[in-house]
Symmetry: C2
Subunit: 355 residues, 2 copies
């Protein structure tokens, strides 16, 4: 059956959207590569915190074969004034307190923002005061602000919220993400305690050097708000995953009896009942002990719903894609502060010109 | 770790939202039951097309043990004027042409609307003219209009769109839904050719009495628009599922060699390449031939994504839940015509008062 085109791709022929990138680390590099290939978006500037990056061509910083003609800057207000971005993507940090200076600067310059800082996925969880300040300033300046990322922001929160839309009643939500840390570098491995002895892992939990996953309070906040649940307590557990075998990656070798990662979980209670359970063991090379990676959502309700995907949605690729794919959604939104549950569904809006 | 409540449930204490229901058949009954138990929504009236339902108590019509005090009416304008609903849910039909009279009447009376008519999931697929007229009238009247349902509207379109948000590139999307028609009555079974001989099935395809699934052009339209793809052709196939065994339901018995259902699929092409493949075999009691029911999404892209759930999300329960759960999303939207891909993600917003 033939059909008229449902949609021409002509709407992509408008002026490209001017985007400023904050961060030239692993995530920033992935985002830069996506932005550079998109005809509907134009990367107009790049900010880095590291002094030694100032003046470096972005292509060199992110490992491209070619120069981009974009020189990295350390002075955010100067970059904004020079390049007049319509929107920025922040990939410089995880914590709200650490992210807030750049966020306030961008909002004050009337630049919309997508942040992949984990605590920005639902900022009221870490600081209701900062969340209110961001919301009010964004509204006053006429721009929109979104936190996103694979987790928090997608797998352990937005996906169960989305699936719950098909339920008349929900008693509880359980979401599990089993991933492989083998692609990650030393700083991530350190926060998960990879390669430590069990005793050093316990010491790391006490002194804060072993942290597990950043994001459970944010994911629980998103789910609770979307379902209209008042949460009265959150319990978190962090246990060492002690390897039975030798597990090697380019950055670490874990001997049998050492720690391969952190089994981190959180349970949220409503009126004394556990209603949200999030389980996220992170370790290097789980396949060496026959553990399959994947994402799995279980809703106890009417109807019950169970969905799963194997292997897990790759975290780095998904986070960079979400940050770029959400640009049109953020620019279409009214001024304000948003979580992923407040905007129309993410989509790989490809923005590639036809033919 | 204790925490302050993330959210109190006090916001549910406002005035309940006044809802009018159109349709008292199987779907309308399910929606009515959900509306009647929700403290944040109040069912103010019920419309039926069938003359013999006029004056009947809604409780009797939908098989409740009790009276509801709501008397069913056949006169839609009179019901609107008597009950002043803020929003209506339409569960009277599948086709756009059949739905449009009621829709125009509601819009003209400034009532927002959620329709579960399959062709309303993406009305431009069946009639760009009617879609434009709905959009313009909704904007003029200051109300919002949404088409929803499990399929089209959720499993074979919104779910792959949602998952594609984690992809930087998408080459193709394949979505498969294998369901069991055993819960359905004679009218659904007839449109799928259940119980026919293979020859009668082929004859039914020719004369239109066997139709297969309603909704592939709508699902393809939703996906194509969300991803920015121009679709130049859609091919559909309908094949009989010929049973090897005896399959019985309360409404039909299929003997070996007879038709157990319709294996219906659609492929959409972009620039000559197949980019969207939707597969939806519908039959009674597939488990008798060892076929597992379920929903399955495969995205070929960067990264590739595969998610599946078994058994399938139950169609009737999910459609009624989506229709009710989307009420706050529609009332929060600006005036206009929406598909599920245009609004914030569905969520089981439970609206149950605390304590």
């Amino acid at each position: 059956m033939g059909a008229e085109p449902l949609l021409t791709e002509d709407f992509l022929m408008g002026e490209p959207i001017r985007v400023l990138l904050l961060g030239t680390g692993q995530m920033g590099s992935g985002i830069a590569r996506l932005l550079l290939e998109r005809p509907d978006l134009v990367l107009v500037g790049a900010f880095a915190r590291r002094r030694e990056r100032a003046g470096m061509d972005l292509g060199q910083a992110i490992g491209l074969e070619r120069e981009t003609g974009l020189s990295i800057g350390n002075d955010l207000p100067a970059l904004i004034e020079a390049h007049r971005p319509r929107i920025a993507i922040q990939a410089t940090c995880s914590r709200l307190a650490d992210a807030s200076g750049e966020i306030l600067c961008l909002l004050n310059h009337r630049v919309s923002l997508i942040s992949i800082a984990e605590e920005m996925a639902f900022p009221a969880a870490a600081s209701p005061d900062l969340a209110r300040r961001f919301r009010e300033l964004a509204q006053q300046m006429g721009v929109a602000l979104l936190g996103t990322g694979v987790n928090p922001g997608f797998v352990l929160d937005l996906l169960p919220i989305f699936l719950s839309g098909a339920c008349a009643h929900v008693r509880s939500i359980t979401a599990r993400r089993v991933n492989d840390l083998a692609p990650y570098g030393p700083s991530v491995l350190r926060t998960q305690g990879v390669g430590l002895t069990p005793e050093a892992f316990e010491q790391g939990l006490r002194d804060g050097s072993v942290a597990g996953h950043f994001g459970f309070p944010q994911s629980i906040g998103m789910i609770a708000q979307a379902l209209g649940w008042a949460i009265d307590a959150i319990e978190q557990r962090r246990d060492p995953i002690i390897s039975k075998v030798r597990r090697s990656t380019p950055f670490v070798t874990v001997e049998p009896g050492q720690v391969a990662g952190c089994d981190h979980s959180a349970v949220a209670y409503r009126a004394g009942e556990p209603v949200i359970t999030l389980i996220h063991p992170q370790q290097v090379r789980p396949e060496l002990e026959g553990i399959e990676t994947g994402d799995e959502i279980t809703i106890e309700g009417t109807p019950p719903i169970h969905f799963s995907g194997h292997p897990e949605i790759p975290g780095g690729q998904a986070t960079t894609a979400l940050a770029v794919n959400m640009i049109p959604r953020v620019l279409d939104a009214s001024p304000g502060l948003y979580s992923m549950a407040d905007l129309p569904v993410s989509a790989a809006f490809l923005g590639v010109r036809h033919g």
